[in-house]
Amino acid sequence: MKTTALIAEDEPLLAQALRAELAAAWPELDVLATVADGRSAVRAALQLLPQVLFFDIRMPGQDGLAAAAELADAWPADEAPMPQLVFVTAYDEYAARAFDAQAIDYVLKPVQPERLRRTIARLQQALEPQRNGAAFNAEDALAGTLAQWRRVLAAAGGAGGLSGAGSAAPLKLIAASEAGSAGSTVRMVPIDEVLYFEAADKYVRVLTATREYLIRTPLKQLLPQLDAGVFWQVHRATVVRSDAIESVHRDEAGKQQLTLRGRTEKIPVSRLYAHLFKAM
């Protein structure tokens, strides 16, 4: 049985090169398609359901990280096992250093055959249980793959080279403009009042039990400044106060949503973070 893969890389020559190197080093690999941007990558992956994804991090439109995060939720896990995710990155990008530091496999541009062979060997090992189908527990496999995706995404998405994660004291106050005031009024919102943060287009919404504020700091820069024990990321766009979580429901489609004490709306939980709410 052939292994299938999808390549997402915006530079045509480099995509061609990766394809050629993969063909040489892993003849049984069938590259189903090569796409050049993040949105096409999500579309093609959901349509072709490959077993391995090679995603470039820097891509136009939607980058590789956002594409992977979207795919994690949209993937039909009951139709096909979650694919193995490998990022493709240039040597000088932040992600490459983070991957090296955490011994996470990735493909370096330009492709180095020796490294690529190592990555392939590990991919083959990870895919082995699916291949022989013996004693294969789909749920454990999914949990394992999701854990690996979390690790890769966390390393690649780190605060973009901003060190000092966790070194600075957690934020106590958030200077935010009042929603609807068009930035004319800035409030100092005590962090203890914040129930959740939600990324929306160019802003991050800061919600308390009664009010809504806006800040311009991206979620991924905000996260390292929050107390990780108090605020949990539950979705690529949402960070919630953990002790305000009232309940977590799973709908028929298997999607989880949570509600917070003091708020009425239902907040979607990404599959990537569903492990936080597994019944003990």
Binding site: E11, A17, A36, D37, P60, A90, D92, K109, G183
Partner: protein, 357 residues
């Protein structure tokens, strides 16, 4: 005012004042010895008069200049105030010094008023000449020290700017990505690989030497931009199209090397790279009266209109401010660069320079 004073009365400046005082005293002693040797009286009173006059001059002028210098970078009052200070200082020294000398020798106060005209004239002359000479000496010494400092600072700034320019032009990401593409082409399309290598070669040559040359012809500028765009179009494939339009009569106009490069990089990085379908970059030159107009237009995602009060991107901004700075230093143009929304979406950067005939 009080912090200006405390800045001017810094330990550094006060050390200078003390040094001036000591050498003034030395100079006074020389005058006193000269006067007593030439038979103008006993040496002791000459020392007292000379030192009293000299040191009062010194105190008034040297401390006065620190008070009056205000916020000026060099600790010397500008224009007529500097001249007035010297006159006042010498007058005060002459009167005060004579009073002290008269008191010490027990002569009637302001005895010089009864001097003969010759003696009065020579006493005043000695004081004025000595005062002016010392003041001028220290004024020019201080000025040349100040200028030396300024020059050192300017040289450091220039070196800094050159280094930054080089860093932006030789962005390692660009270089390594180009090499990665070259590696592919060597195996698949050797003639194209050779062409790409030639482009890289001439791009590197100008980048590495261009940051030192003052100007090159506009035709050379367009050729280097062509090299860069060709390298980028190998990388980006069909997502990057470009046009370079240079009228023949403008080919020889001198421009600072790689002046347009940051604008082209911006057009790619902020305009075309984020756009899924890519787009086109058009670079053009034209004459408008006595001015040269250069334009870099892209059909990319367009200017992000940030709400007021937002902080600029940490990586952005350097390219534009660098172009502005170069325009300001080369042509004194304060308003030579404009960014506007392009006619068909995207962004247009327009440069205006004076055309010297």
């Amino acid at each position: 005012m009080s912090d200006t004073l405390s800045r001017n009365f810094s330990p550094h400046n006060l050390r200078h004042v003390l040094r001036h005082g000591i050498s003034t005293a030395g100079f006074c002693c020389v005058i006193a010895v000269g006067l007593s040797v030439s038979g103008r009286g006993a040496w002791a009173p000459q020392f007292v008069y000379s030192l009293s006059i000299g040191l009062i001059c010194w105190l008034v002028i040297d401390l006065g200049r620190l008070v009056l210098a205000g916020r000026a970078a060099k600790p010397w009052p500008q224009g007529w105030r500097g001249v007035a200070l010297v006159i006042v200082g010498i007058a005060a020294g002459f009167l005060g010094g004579n009073v002290i000398g008269d008191a010490w020798t027990g002569k009637p106060l302001l005895e010089f008023l009864s001097f003969s005209r010759d003696k009065l004239a020579s006493t005043v002359l000695i004081t004025v000449v000595a005062g002016v000479v010392i003041c001028y000496f220290y004024y020019s010494l201080g000025k040349s020290k100040y200028l030396e400092g300024e020059i050192a600072l300017a040289q450091r700034d220039a070196a800094d700017a050159r280094l930054k320019l080089l860093e932006t032009q030789l962005e390692p990401h660009m270089l390594f990505n180009t090499l990665a593409n070259l590696r592919v082409l060597i195996a698949t399309d050797p003639p194209r690989a050779v062409a790409m290598l030639d482009r890289l070669n001439s791009y590197l040559r100008v980048t590495l030497s261009g940051s030192r040359a003052l100007a090159h012809p506009l035709a050379a500028e367009f050729q280097r931009l062509g090299d860069y765009l060709e390298l980028m179009s190998v990388r980006m494939g069909p997502r990057l199209a470009y046009r370079l339009e240079l009228p023949d009569d403008l080919r020889e106009v001198p421009v600072p090397p790689l002046l347009l490069q940051p604008l082209v990089e911006n057009a790619i990085r902020h305009g075309l790279e984020p756009k899924v379908d890519g787009g086109e970059i058009a670079i053009g030159a034209r004459r408008e009266g006595r001015r040269l107009v250069l334009e870099v237009c892209d059909t990319g995602v367009g200017l992000a209109i940030d709400p007021p009060g937002s902080t600029p991107r940490p990586d952005g901004g350097f390219g534009l401010s660098q172009v502005r700075e170069r325009l300001a230093t080369a042509y004194g143009e304060q308003d030579g660069l404009r960014l506007t929304a392009g006619p068909a979406g995207g962004t247009c950067a327009t440069l205006q320079l004076p055309l010297s005939e």
